[in-house]
Amino acid sequence: MKEETYRRPTAGDHPPNLSPDYKSTTGRAPAKPAIALPHSLSEITGPLLADERLDAHENDLTKQRMAEPLGERIIVQGRVLDQDGKPVPGALVEIWQCNAAGRYHHPGDQHDAPLDPNFYGGGRVRADAEGQYKFITIKPGAYPWKNHHNAWRPAHIHFSLFGPAFATRLITQMYFPNDPLLAYDPIYKSVPAGARERLQASFEMDLTQPEWALGYRFDIVLRGRNATPME
């Protein structure tokens, strides 16, 4: 049996594990190179979470509590694709983010900004047959962190995707276009120039709904399959 395999990332697609300007990497980055594994069933299969039951409001972060959260309502919409531009149908997309004031609903977040009892900050949705997904949420705030003097994270939404295989697992962050804080953020800038720009959503008037919410597009590209090898 000939298994299909997944294409390897090229240099410059992902950040190096050690990115010293992001200080936490110095204590947590492996020093030795990863060993390249030929793809067996262990790598080309992976959790599809097809039986995971999603509740009605999991993709609408403004409707998960008693009332609407404070902040600027936004629509974040896009497609989950592979490198050939083919949709990844049924992909589970998970997100989490801080509230409009820049505070996470998390006991470890001690930033002096208000919690919003109407905002939890977690969402999930399953992409449709064309790989389309859509979230309704509020625009997350910027917040300070202690990486360096006067360090502020640009507004961002965390994304988690499995794709079709163990090999395609991806956790990333979506940023907003032209945020002035991007130029100062060592996490965003850990990704080589030329690739980091892919992490910025685009503002889309077509996705914007009159009298209601601004729309942003964020397409996510996961690893594609290699061409079927010749027998």
Binding site: S19, Y22, T25, A31, E52, H106, A195
Partner: protein, 187 residues
């Protein structure tokens, strides 16, 4: 038309309550075939200190050696209720515990079988890319023939082999760096 990959970013420290709210640490409800096992992974940084804000994910075949996935087309049984996926954040002592069944052997593309193993993903603040490794079982007679372990220099193979403690729990420390650095794989 070729589309450029979306780059990876760290999971950060604040995933709790959102993605791990729905975690699965018990993979095998009653009735799933196979030898029931407890697995404890413990995450350490390059200095050896435990990492209390990490996430482990596991992916494995069932006890028959079959992955619950459409690309595993072999005629082997699937077990109802067993997907083979688990996820858990680390506790203050850096550990995550999974309850599952020992996986069966799965084939190697060049022929033969791999030793039983669990595929492991690691995420944490300060970790910019998903780190992938494997957990093997100490004493398994198939270890000496495993084609993946043969890719690893002998002195480092132990970083992939869980040992059984006196309660029967399989334990594997994962070191992100330092003298005991775990072998990570480019999958």
């Amino acid at each position: 038309m070729s589309h450029a990959l979306t780059p990876s970013q760290t999971i950060g420290p604040f995933f709790w309550g959102t993605i791990v709210n729905a975690y699965h640490a018990d993979l095998a409800p009653p009735g799933v075939a196979g030898e029931r096992i407890d697995v404890v992974l413990q995450l350490h940084d390059v200095q050896g200190a435990v990492v209390p804000d990490g996430v482990f994910e596991v992916w494995q075949a069932n006890s028959h050696g079959r992955y619950n996935h459409p690309d595993d087309r072999r005629n082997l049984p699937l077990d109802a209720g067993f997907e083979g996926y688990g996820r858990a954040s680390t506790f203050t002592d850096g550990t995550s515990r999974f309850t599952t069944v020992k996986p069966g052997r799965v084939p190697w593309p060049a022929g033969g079988l791999q030793a039983p193993h669990i595929n492991v993903s690691i995420f944490a603040r300060g970790v910019l890319n998903r780190l992938a490794t494997r957990l093997y079982f100490d004493g398994d007679p198939a270890l000496s023939d495993d084609p993946v372990l043969k890719l690893v220099e002998p002195a480092r193979r132990d970083t992939l082999i869980a040992k059984r403690d006196d309660k029967g729990t399989w334990r594997l420390p994962i070191h992100l760096g330092g003298p005991k650095e775990t072998v990570f794989f480019d999958v």
